[in-house]
Structure formats: structure tokens, C-alpha cells
């Protein structure tokens, strides 16, 4: 019997130790609109934003906030054709607590002479601007489509001063199971 209790405790400890982290988790959903069209596709250039839903552990220094897809530009007859549009990233946070906020960016498309393949770059205005939703801070990072079309950001939240619920419940359950095995006669049989 004692052997079984020890075995149970050992297995539970092995399963529960990774949960000792006190970092918080954040769940959010993003959507985006261009000011030229008030939709997720720009009216000025063939760029479409696709939002995402993510659950991340804070701090996340490279959190995915969505992605741009770049289509075919009109042929450029100058040395360099440039188009730009204002973009608003709308973030809806569902965990740890609900709320929403916006980050604004300037999206610029470049096409070189005689080409239709453009490069898109984006910068959140002003650089390093943040939005705080119920204690969780979102910072948009600039990017360029030649490297990646993913829009990335930094998400930081205050650390939760408690171990994960899984750990607390796991430890408690191990205690309860040990107690139950040790005092089987006391268990309510009605």
C-alpha cells in the first residue's frame, strides 16, 4: 500500500513540476482595417491582412499578430512607385481578462521600374507605441514582406503570483488520493 502511495506521488510530482512556472498566459484575437477601404484589404495597393487567434505565455517577444498577403501591383513606369495606407490593428483579448485596443501602423508598398512584384513594409506609429489591455502590454514590431509577411509584436503581462491551477489541483489531488487510500474505512459508502 505504502509502495503504491509513493509510486503515485512520484508520478504526480514528475507530471506537475513543469507547472511551477508563474508566468501568465494571454489569449487574443486580431483583426485589421485599412483606412482607405475600411476593410482588411487596402484600396490603394493589393495588400490584405489576415487576423489570428493565439494563446501565448508572457513575456512573448515574437508574438504573431496576423499576416499580410501581397498581390500583384500595377506595372510601375517610374524608377520607383510608392503607395502607402494607414492600417489599424484591432486586438481583442479574452484571457486573462477581456478587453480590446488598437495599434496603428503605416503600410507602404514599393515597386521598381517595369515590375509588378512589390515589397511591403509596415511601421507602427510612433515606433514603440503600445496598447495596454487589462495589464497586458502589446507592442507592434516593424516588418518587411521580403523577410516575412507575418506581423509580429511583443506581449508582456504582469507575472501571476501563483503557480498554475494544474499544479495546485494536482498537489491537492495527490494528497486527497493518499488520504483516501490510507483511510478507506472512513469513505462514505452510502
Amino acid at each position: 500500500m505504502t509502495k503504491n502511495v509513493f509510486l503515485l506521488a512520484a508520478v504526480a510530482t514528475a507530471l506537475l513540476i513543469p507547472q511551477f512556472a508563474v508566468a501568465g498566459t494571454v489569449t487574443y484575437t486580431t483583426t485589421g482595417t485599412f483606412s482607405s477601404s475600411l476593410t482588411n484589404t487596402s484600396a490603394k495597393m493589393p495588400v490584405t491582412f489576415t487576423g489570428t487567434t493565439q494563446t501565448v505565455t508572457t513575456p512573448d517577444l515574437n508574438a504573431l499578430l496576423g499576416s499580410f498577403s501581397v498581390g500583384t501591383f500595377a506595372q510601375c513606369h517610374k524608377a520607383l512607385c510608392t503607395k502607402s495606407d494607414h492600417f489599424t490593428l484591432h486586438i481583442v483579448q479574452s484571457a486573462p481578462s477581456g478587453g480590446s485596443g488598437n495599434l496603428t501602423a503605416t503600410v507602404t508598398g514599393f515597386v521598381v521600374f517595369n515590375q509588378t512584384t512589390g515589397t511591403v513594409q509596415w511601421t507602427f506609429d510612433p515606433l514603440g507605441t503600445t496598447v495596454v489591455i487589462n495589464g497586458v502590454t502589446y507592442t507592434g514590431l516593424p516588418g518587411v514582406s521580403t523577410l516575412s509577411t507575418d506581423v509580429r509584436g511583443i506581449i508582456t503581462g504582469p507575472p501571476v503570483p501563483e503557480p498554475k491551477a494544474g499544479l495546485l489541483l494536482g498537489l491537492g489531488s495527490v494528497g486527497l488520493m493518499g488520504l483516501a487510500f490510507a483511510s478507506r474505512k472512513m469513505i462514505n459508502v452510502n
Binding site: 501565448v56 484571457a95 477581456g98 503570483p161 501563483e162 494544474g166 495546485l168 489541483l169 489531488s173 462514505n188
Partner: protein, 349 residues
């Protein structure tokens, strides 16, 4: 047994006949009980097989649920089925004592679960928990259906708590957020009261408490939602195993709410007072960031003491009931013995 039975034939004959009847009845009863045990174990195998089948069928949503739980406030979700199974195994005699398969009720619940599960595709949701609550509810209902199908409504009634615990598998962030908000507000109010009680000058404005040279905000992280939820599940499990009275179970669960608020308030007041009068680094030190588990065990210890008190009082009541029923039985058998003796003497006369 009528007296006329004894009047036919001699005493020796009637004794032999009754002994023969007793043996026959016993043999029949034992063969019946063997058949029942065989049937129950067969049903148990069918139930286990169907549960394993459901795991295969619901593999994708269950996998998504576990993945979501791993990175969220709902990290306790994978432990819930294990706790339910444990509670059922520990109280198996009481639960399966009167088990009779109930095909109709079981099928209705099972089909409802499958319908709920299939509704997910009709209502696409924007966020992960919104995607998961409906399939999770469907899976839980399907498991309930399988249980009722195999063991019947009577067993389901006795196993109501372990089966009900499965509802904790459903992630519903709006409910969690409401609980967080409530705990946060109540903790802020009680902390302010405690500050005033120990003579620390304080002014409270919603979640912010202003103290001399220090402003503290009772953030959602201070709500202690993780330990409160864990304590709730453990209390329900413990009460199911050890308490008999329904009122005691309700009182114990109700006690949990003020206890969780008191634990949060004590934590806030202790840390802030230490920061005020000893060293401000207490607010950013390990006692703040890693002391959660200490306060969880403190709350568990307080709850355990209430639990033991209730269990002892129940035990005392049970013992006194047993004593009085034993005494009644004793008196009854004495009366029966006396009357039997008088009948026998009457016959011989």
C-alpha cells in the same frame, strides 16, 4: 412463517425441511448474485470499451482542449477526468449497488451530447475558448449518456458529484472573468478593512488602496483564481468521499468563498505592511511572486480543520444512531423471544 407449518409432522422433520429450504434459497441467491456480478462486470467492460471508443472519436477536440489548457488559466482541465474516475472507483460499491442499464435515458443524453458536439461546425467562433466550450460540453454529455446507458439513473444519481465535476472540463472565460472580478473586488474591500483594523491609514478607490507613501492596486492576478478553483474542486471531491450530510457539503463549499477572500486579503495586507515598515522590496520579492503556494496550503489547512470537525460530528451522530438502533433491536429481540417462549409453552400445555 405461520404456526400451522410447525404443527404438521414432527419437530425433527420440520427442522430438516426448513434446513433444506434454507440451503436451496442460499444456493439460488448465490447463483443470482454470481449472475449479477457477471452481468455487472460485462457491462463494466462494455462501458470501458465505449469510453475508449469515445476517446478515439473525440480525439481531435480533446487534443485541442488539452493543448489549450496547457497554455491557459484552465491548466487543471486534464486532471478533471482523472479525479472523477478516482471518486467513482473509491465509492464503487455505493454507486454500482443498484446499477441497472437504462437504454432510453442514456440514449437521449448520448444523442444530445453528439448533437451539441456537431453544433460546433454550425457556429464558428472567433477565439479558442469559444471554439472549445461547445465540443467540451458535447463530450461531457456523451460521457454522461454512456454512464446512464450502462449503469442506469440510480447509479448516476449516486455518482452525481463525480459526473458533475466533469463540467469543470468546459472552458468558459466569461464565467472565469466574472469570478476573477468578484474575488478582486471583495479582496480589495477586505484588505482595506484589515488595514483600518490594524491601524494603517488607508484610502480606497475601487481597486487602488492608498497608504502612506505607497499606492497598491489589487490586480486581476491578485484574485487568487487558480488556487480558489483548485480548492473548490478538492473540496467537492473531499466532501463526496468523506461527508454524508448534504447540508455539511453545502456549508463547506459556501465556506470556501469567504476563506478565499480572507486568504487574498491576508496576503495583500502582509506583503504591503512588510513593504511599508520593513523593506519595499517585499512587493517585488519572492514572497510576492512565489508565495502563492504557501497561502494555498494555509487555506487548505484551514479548510481541512472545518472538514475534520464536520466529519467528527457526523461520525458521532452515526455512532449514536447505531447505538440506539442496536439497543432497539436488542429490546425487540427480547420481546420476540419472550412471546415465542410463551407460545411454545402454550402449545405444550
Amino acid at each position: 412463517m405461520p404456526l400451522s407449518t410447525f404443527s404438521t409432522g414432527t419437530g425433527a422433520e420440520s427442522t430438516a425441511e426448513s434446513a433444506h429450504m434454507n440451503v436451496a434459497a442460499r444456493t439460488e441467491a448465490s447463483s443470482n448474485s454470481d449472475r449479477e456480478v457477471l452481468l455487472t462486470s460485462k457491462i463494466l467492460y462494455i462501458f470501458v470499451a465505449s469510453m475508449l471508443g469515445s476517446l478515439v472519436i473525440f480525439w481531435t477536440p480533446l487534443h485541442r482542449l488539452v493543448e489549450f489548457a496547457r497554455n491557459s488559466e484552465f491548466s487543471y482541465i486534464p486532471l478533471i477526468p482523472a479525479i472523477s474516475v478516482f471518486l467513482i472507483v473509491m465509492r464503487r460499491r455505493a454507486i454500482f449497488r443498484q446499477s441497472r442499464p437504462h437504454a432510453a435515458a442514456g440514449a437521449v443524453i448520448l444523442v444530445s451530447g453528439i448533437l451539441l458536439f456537431s453544433l460546433t461546425k454550425l457556429f464558428p467562433a472567433p477565439t479558442t475558448p469559444d471554439h472549445l466550450w461547445l465540443p467540451a460540453l458535447g463530450i461531457v454529455a456523451a460521457w454522461w449518456g454512456l454512464f446512464v446507458l450502462c449503469f442506469g439513473l440510480q447509479s448516476a444519481r449516486v455518482a452525481m458529484l463525480p459526473l458533475g465535476l466533469l463540467l469543470f472540463m468546459i472552458p468558459v472565460p466569461p464565467v472565469t472573468n466574472t469570478v476573477i472580478r468578484f474575488l478582486q473586488q471583495a479582496s480589495a474591500a477586505l484588505s482595506y478593512f484589515l488595514f483600518r483594523m490594524i491601524g494603517v491609514p488607508a484610502i480606497r478607490e475601487d481597486m487602488v488602496i492608498s497608504l502612506p507613501g505607497l499606492n497598491i492596486e489589487v490586480a486581476p492576478e491578485c484574485s487568487g483564481i487558480r488556487s480558489s478553483l483548485s480548492l473548490l474542486i478538492l473540496t467537492l471531491a473531499g466532501a463526496n468521499l468523506y461527508l454524508r450530510s448534504g447540508w455539511n457539503k453545502i456549508i463547506l463549499v459556501c465556506l470556501l468563498v469567504p476563506l478565499c477572500i480572507l486568504r487574498n486579503a491576508i496576503r495583500i495586507v502582509t506583503l504591503t505592511t512588510l513593504a511599508l515598515y520593513v523593506d519595499e522590496s517585499f512587493l517585488t520579492g519572492p514572497l510576492h511572486h512565489k508565495g502563492g503556494i504557501l497561502f494555498f496550503f494555509l487555506a487548505t489547512a484551514i479548510l481541512m480543520s472545518f472538514f475534520l470537525l464536520m466529519q467528527r460530528s457526523e461520525q458521532r451522530k452515526l455512532d449514536s444512531t447505531r447505538c440506539s438502533s442496536l439497543a432497539k433491536n436488542c429490546i425487540d429481540s427480547q420481546i420476540a423471544g419472550n412471546s415465542a417462549a410463551s407460545i411454545t409453552s402454550g402449545q405444550s400445555v
